[in-house]
Symmetry: C2
Subunit: 364 residues, 2 copies
């Protein structure tokens, strides 16, 4: 379906969104604002995105009957997370345009495939090796050294599915802690800072990137994003060029998040790509209140075949995630002049769970 | 219920909204953004607000069984239009907090009651007289002169339910054209321009007004709103003071729209109040993209017992309504850099129907 020339989606059309978390919720709101309806597909009956959707389906990703009914009810399909099973993506793409397409999804949902793709494209990234067995791991550690990081190829997020290989680490235990799943060993990167580029590419190949964002993580979970990043002009330019090269090579349609490390190389900032997210990205949430177009509207515009909006920044921005009980501070944040509070409507407060975020805009 | 001391509404609470048009839709989106759920009540099965609501009820306003079920499912109730029948408002207010309250609603949904309230408060407005019969009309015209404007006390909007009394107008015919409904005759105001104040008052009496907005109507329907209004500083101050006085006198909770005429009086701008809208107001739509807090979020904050947000303006703003077929220009507007397009998801394009609006922000 994706190779045919598609008309722009008309207001009133229904956008299918696979995944019902906060990203699906904010996508649904952005879609409604442009006159679209959304149908959210998610196995979890308690999905935050259902609250703001025209329609929703609670079903497993391998319930192909439900999936086909869902697909038949919508005009285009997108997703809010990269772990949509490949078979489900194919079932969808056989019936309706899927953006980003099944190939972009397949490339980015598997760490080894993704890293190989990036390497083949000439994108700078840390050395890595495929690990399918203890023997592979031993060989990889011999090559890449310690410390290094062992990560499962699939389903990892927020530090889950990874283990640090230190001097004292027992390799067998480490591999077993990841349930011996197909994995990748990455050379450790002694980075100065973490940054990301959130960018969009339209069906026609138009590209628009938001300014490079600097990200601070705590316990592997994003804590704050600030813009502009503390980065040299040339490194910033390089980061944006990398995002464009990646999006073009994937023939990508939609918003993509490119996570990067900044390393000091003889006093110069050098960029290494860490990973790709084929979707709107937590580090782009500041765009809701501090950019002309939000990443959510931008994604909807891209997949709808509309022209992209301006990614211009309105000032200095800071986004802070509200994790677990921090969201109980809503009263204080709501009283703070100029703080833009966003809550996801999640009933259960769990330790470390992303419950909301707050955007703060300051004059440039 | 409104006299008891109420706690602030917690995220996750359900806000009931009576009326399912575009205002209800945009309120629902704003509520979701703060972590609330909404339940929309509307007799029209095709209501734009349903698309973004957690729950909706299709039932008549005098279906008290349905109304009670609706009320039982929510934590607080508000409305998006002033023609909620008084009895329905009372049924609601008996069970749950209703904001703005039933008294504010009763005062503002009847032109004669509203004008009497304003006059008693010492607010400047055009002379007016109550008209219940042809004899009343003849007497009123003898006093207020021609031209003057005859308007039904209730259910008028966008120029509907009103007739101009000119030199040649036959009074019997004029009154009959309004189906001899209880009406008000207003002295004609040769205004320079029309402006409005959109403001909010919190449960605790905190007041926050957006800047005075200048409004241009065509065929009695709002065409554009621009901010700041072309108005002297003293007149602007007076306009804001009037809005505050009105809100305080009504012990108002929520966003209120105060429509005003500006007349030249010996070279000086003088303000006359035209009418009140006990709800978010079309002339406040610019706040979505051009103010720190939108009028929709501000209304939700007020009725939820949250602190009001900053009403500060981000620059010069212009809002243009998209009426009828103008909304078919979405492609062109979407391609305009920096134009913020909002579409209401209305399936049927009708001549003059409000289909959406576009906000444009320029540096101050």
């Amino acid at each position: 379906m994706n190779d045919t020339v598609l008309d722009a989606l008309r207001p009133g059309a229904v956008i299918g969104i696979v995944g019902g978390g906060q990203l699906g919720r904010m996508l649904s709101i952005a879609a409604a604002n442009l006159g679209f309806r959304t149908h959210i597909y998610c196995p979890d009956a308690d999905s935050p995105a259902f609250d703001v959707a025209y329609q929703h389906t609670v079903a497993a990703y391998d319930d192909y009957e439900a999936l086909l009914r869902f697909v038949a009810s919508v005009d285009v399909v997108t997703y809010e997370f990269e772990n949509v099973p490949h078979r489900a993506a194919q079932v969808i793409a056989n019936e309706r345009p899927l953006f980003p397409d099944a190939e972009a999804l397949a490339t980015t949902q598997d760490r080894y495939t993704e890293k190989s793709f990036l390497r083949d494209l000439g994108i700078p990234l840390a050395d890595f090796a495929r690990v399918d067995s203890i023997a592979d791991l031993e060989e990889a550690v011999a090559t890449l050294g310690r410390p290094s990081v062992l990560k499962t190829r699939r389903f990892g997020y927020d530090g889950k599915g990874q283990v640090m290989i230190r001097t004292e680490t027992d390799l067998t235990q480490a591999f077993q802690s990841l349930l011996q799943q197909p994995s990748v060993l990455e050379a450790f990167v002694p980075f100065e800072r973490e940054v990301s580029v959130v960018a969009a590419r339209s069906r026609g190949g138009q590209f628009a990137a938001f300014d490079v964002t600097e990200n601070r993580h705590e316990n592997h979970v994003l804590r704050t994003s600030t813009v502009p990043a503390n980065l040299s002009a040339s490194a910033s330019k390089e980061a944006l060029a990398i995002a464009r090269k990646v999006a073009d090579a994937l023939n990508y349609v939609g918003v993509i998040g490119v996570e990067m490390f900044v390393v000091k190389d003889g006093g110069k900032d050098r960029i290494l790509v860490n990973e790709l997210a084929p979707r709107v990205h937590n580090s782009g949430h500041w765009t809701q209140d501090c950019a002309v177009t939000s990443q959510f509207e931008q994604h909807i515009r891209a997949i709808a075949g509309w022209p992209l909006g301006s990614p211009a920044r309105l000032g200095r921005a800071e986004m802070t995630n509200l994790l677990g009980e921090e969201a109980l501070d809503w009263r204080k944040i709501a009283a703070e002049p100029g703080a833009h509070l966003h809550l996801y409507g999640k009933a259960q407060v769990k330790r470390g769970r992303k419950m909301g975020h707050v955007n703060r805009l300051k004059p440039d």
